[in-house]
Amino acid sequence: MKDPSALSRPGAGVSRRAFLKGSGAVAAASAVVAGPGLIEAAEQKKPKVVSGKSPAKTRLDVNGKTYEVEVETRSTLLDVLRYQLDLTGAKPVSIDETSGACTVWLDGKPISANTKLALACVGKKIKTVESLGGAKPDAVPVAFVHHDAMQCGFCTPGFVVAVRDFLNKHPKATEAEIRKGLNSNICRCGTYANVVEAALEVVKGAK
């Protein structure tokens, strides 16, 4: 809960978001060179120190491509993905990690992109929901369609990533395990029952 005493300050509650919501400038980002390995590993591992608020150029490895981006120290990964790379599958829903709607992988671990600073992701492999699409979509989004595990769809990309990640770790998950293990995502339309069915179909298909 918020501290009601903070109410006397106009604009209270803004500062935390201001910190976490980063440089949103829409810049046409370019895929510098395709494929990892072409960029020197050493350079990737050294995050550039950016002082103050002036944006600085750095590189991010997203879905197997290296992109040049401009970040401020306060820029979140979510803002850079959405506003510089136009990868809008990860959604801004809550100010913290409550919703799971902006779940992406960072070096193989699921994280909330809105609470991760972009600079902390330099030199790491970022994978977004878009990597599960394309001409040959992953089994999870396909099962989501087949079981209609979506309505408005705003939470769906985050849920798809969460299910993919959970089933990577628990490829033979039972229904009970799915119901216990997939509680990091909020859906307002109420698609949970169909998400369970979709996840079960992926388990069956993987056998």
């Binding site: 918020k2 604009g11 608020k53 599958g89 929901v129 209609d148 309505q151 769809g153 109420g190 949970y192």
Partner: protein
């Protein structure tokens, strides 16, 4: 005059068949672009400053300090000195900057001086509201079984109520309530606005694609023909997104003034504070019934808040669905310094159901008889609308189906008399609901291209209900084509006008316009095919990608061959439906629904777990069963949310919305829903009624059904929803005495 019809029951080709949502994969892989996702080169980010105080007067407002900050491109104040603020978060100013962070920082430089006014936000404590002068009469109504009808004055009415209560075998004196909740659209309200010369394109998160252009145009000093409202995907609306809103118009103004596209989406806390909520309701009732549980007299007074304007739950739906022979009902509005309500899925109904069908269940508890029998014996005997089918028959059938699915007879025990497993007790509850759901006005432009391509265009929107998919099914059914062969263009005000998606009106409207257009188009195409085949046009049918003589399937043309007869230009047909203008064989109104819940309650912790939930729902002819079922699952889960988890929590002293972030606003998660069984109730008689809307009805009953199940488990009523553990423990401590 052209005739329109649906295929005979059981003969449809794709109508009513399991079909994948046609835009499912773009949503599931993150490719779908919502208003929040529209990015443009050079786009500015706008942020809104909300008033921190719930009730005050603006003494001075000065935004000049914000204008000179780095990256800031525009500043607008939305309030003038002297203006009164009636809820926390009301918009004071908007700042647009190169980055979101710069805009948010600049808001802090807007200087506002306030004159504080008295704050009142408690919507449950009627005495406190009266003391604070915050109550208003909001309607009343009496109905007597015997003369002298409604001529009784207040004193006589009191005497008549007393007489009827004394005559009753059982009298329940109850208190029931349901808190304010938010819409909590996961995509907040807002837009991305851009100008092409003198024309505005507003990428608005809206349920009302065809109806908002004028709301932008008027304050911008242009006409609606210079505005295109665009919305391919919307991240939740639930009744709260019909307007351009002040923040939408401001974004468009700033875009005009700066020559740059502007994105203004509300922050999460603003979404909850200012973008709509569902009114509360609290009801005190004396209800008398005979030995069988048939209600003979109902006397209720209820109150609640819609915010700063008087409102609340209409007394016309009290008691809900049931129609007791003698009743008196009175409604009081409480005026609070809280954000304004907006339509929330099935306005009035969920609250009315939760406040009154609980009282009916308490009659069963007091008489020690089966709740099922009490509900059955009190079913309304007359149809709610002249000429409508018998709702009582619908409810009876649906109750039987639901009872079988949840195994009611085997599981039933009298209230509070179940076998406990340690501290865990289980219980069953039910509720029933109704809704109109007639189609809205809808016009579509259907095109058949000479190469066989088919597209339909209309200014409708898909809230996630599957509107796109349903439209494709209707057109594909008519032409005998696979669903994938139909392109559906919606989401732009440039397309022919189709109604806003509210009140479960969309499926009726868009099915009407598209079935009409495609049946007309098929007739025209068949005439051309008939000439070619040298047969009569009315002998031809369209099925499985061909147009052929019904009795001689080999005498025909492929769909492509038939379309090539059109020549150079596409065949264009307009389909039009005007709500309420005529009886249509394609659509109808009024549905029923029965829901039953099974819960387990821990008497030590007060935690309620959903075990099983059954929803039986009619909707006339089912166009798209898969998305229809999804809506019912979703409605049940939203119902579990307001029954057990979510509520707006206000600070009575300051009027602050305390749980306005998602982390504090509790919603169920995947592990909280239990087993849900959805049954689409579509016997031939339902199919023959044509299409009726579905969005609202299944969200109505869960509150009462779950409350009744909890009461059945504990033997004690938890009077107010949501039934959070504290309320359960409080109710147990009081032993059910209000």
């Amino acid at each position: 005059m052209a005739e329109y019809s649906w295929p005979k029951y059981g003969t449809a080709y794709v109508l009513g068949k399991e079909t994948d949502r046609i835009d499912g994969l773009v949503k599931a892989t993150g490719a779908a672009k919502y208003s929040y996702d529209i990015n443009r080169k050079g786009m500015l980010f706008a942020k809104m400053l909300g008033c921190p105080h719930a009730h005050c007067k603006i003494k001075a407002i000065d935004a000049s300090g914000a204008a000179n900050l780095p990256g800031v491109r525009a500043v607008k104040t939305l309030k003038e000195p002297g203006q009164e603020i009636r809820w926390q978060g009301d918009a004071l100013a908007v700042v647009a900057a190169d980055t979101e962070a710069a805009a948010a920082e600049a808001l802090k430089a807007v200087k506002v001086e306030y004159e504080m006014l008295d704050v009142y936000v408690d919507d449950e404590d009627l005495a406190a509201a009266q003391k604070a002068g915050r109550t208003q009469p909001a309607g009343s109504n009496v109905q007597w079984e015997v003369e002298p009808d409604d001529d009784l004055d207040d004193e006589q009415a009191d005497q008549e109520i007393d007489r009827l209560l004394k005559k009753a075998t059982v009298v329940v004196e109850g208190y029931y309530g349901i808190n304010v909740i938010a819409h909590m659209c996961l995509e907040p309200h807002g837009s991305t606005c851009e100008w092409n010369g003198d024309k505005l394109v507003a990428h608005l998160s809206t349920q009302n694609v065809s109806g908002t252009a004028g709301q932008f145009a008027d304050p911008l000093g242009i006409t609606a023909d210079d505005v295109e409202v665009h919305c391919d995907f919307i991240g939740g609306g639930f009744g709260s997104k019909f307007a351009a809103d002040a923040w939408g118009v401001t974004a468009a103004q700033i875009a005009k003034e700066t020559g740059r596209p502007v994105k203004l989406m509300l922050d999460r806390d603003q979404e909850l504070k200012v973008a709509g909520n569902r009114p509360s309701g609290y009801l005190k009732v004396k209800v008398g019934a005979d030995k069988d549980g048939v209600v003979t007299v109902w006397d209720s007074h209820h109150w609640g808040t819609s915010g700063a304007k008087a409102g609340g739950i209409s007394q016309t739906v009290i008691p809900y669905v049931f129609d007791p022979k003698n009743r008196r009902r009175k409604q009081t509005a409480i005026v609070t310094d809280t954000g304004p309500d907006r339509a929330w899925r099935a306005p009035n109904h969920p609250q009315a159901c939760a406040m009154t069908q609980t009282a009916y269940d308490d009659i069963a508890a007091k008489l020690g008889i089966d709740s099922y029998d009490v509900f059955l014996r009190n079913l309304p005997s007359v149809s709610p609308k002249k000429g409508a089918h018998s709702m009582a028959d619908t409810y009876r059938q649906q109750m039987e189906i639901a009872a079988k699915l949840i195994d009611w007879k085997a599981k039933w025990h009298p209230h509070g008399k179940g076998q406990a497993q340690g501290s865990i007790v289980t219980g069953l509850g039910m509720a029933l609901h109704t809704w109109g759901g007639g189609g809205h006005n809808s016009t579509c432009l259907l095109k058949i291209h000479p190469d066989g391509g088919v597209e339909t265009s209309l200014g409708s929107q898909d809230l996630g209900t599957g509107t796109r998919t349903a439209i494709a099914i209707v057109v594909a059914e008519t032409f005998g084509l696979p669903v994938s062969a139909v392109k559906v263009n919606i989401g732009s005000s440039r397309y022919p006008n189709s109604g806003p998606s509210g009140g479960s009106t969309t499926i009726g409207g868009v099915s009407e316009s598209n079935r009409r257009a495609s049946q007309d188009a098929l007739r025209q195409l068949c005439e051309k095919a008939a000439k070619k085949l040298n047969v009569e046009a009315d002998t031809l049918v369209a099925k499985e990608g061909r147009i052929f003589v019904a009795d001689h399937p080999d005498k025909g043309l492929s769909w492509k061959e038939a379309c090539s007869l059109l020549g150079m230009n596409p065949l264009e047909v307009t389909g039009k439906f005007a709500r309420g203008k005529e009886e249509s064989p394609l659509s109808s109104v009024q549905v029923g629904g029965v829901q039953m819940a099974e819960v387990a309650v821990d008497r030590e912790t007060g935690v309620i777990k959903m075990k099983k939930f059954v929803a039986v729902q009619d909707m006339g002819l089912v166009v798209s069963p898969r998305t229809a079922k999804s809506q019912i699952y979703g409605a049940v889960i939203m119902g579990i949310a307001y029954a057990l988890f979510e509520e707006r929590i206000m600070d009575n002293k300051t009027g602050a919305f305390l749980n306005c972030e998602l982390s504090d606003y509790k919603l169920p998660r995947l592990g909280d829903i239990g087993e849900i069984i959805v049954e689409l109730h579509e016997p031939e008689s339902e199919y023959n009624r044509g299409v009726v809307g579905l969005g609202e009805p299944p969200v109505i009953s869960p509150g009462a059904a779950i409350s009744n199940a909890v009461c059945n488990a504990l033997g004690v009523r938890v009077p107010v929803l949501p039934m959070i553990p504290k309320r359960v423990l409080d109710a147990l401590a009081k032993g059910g005495k209000a």
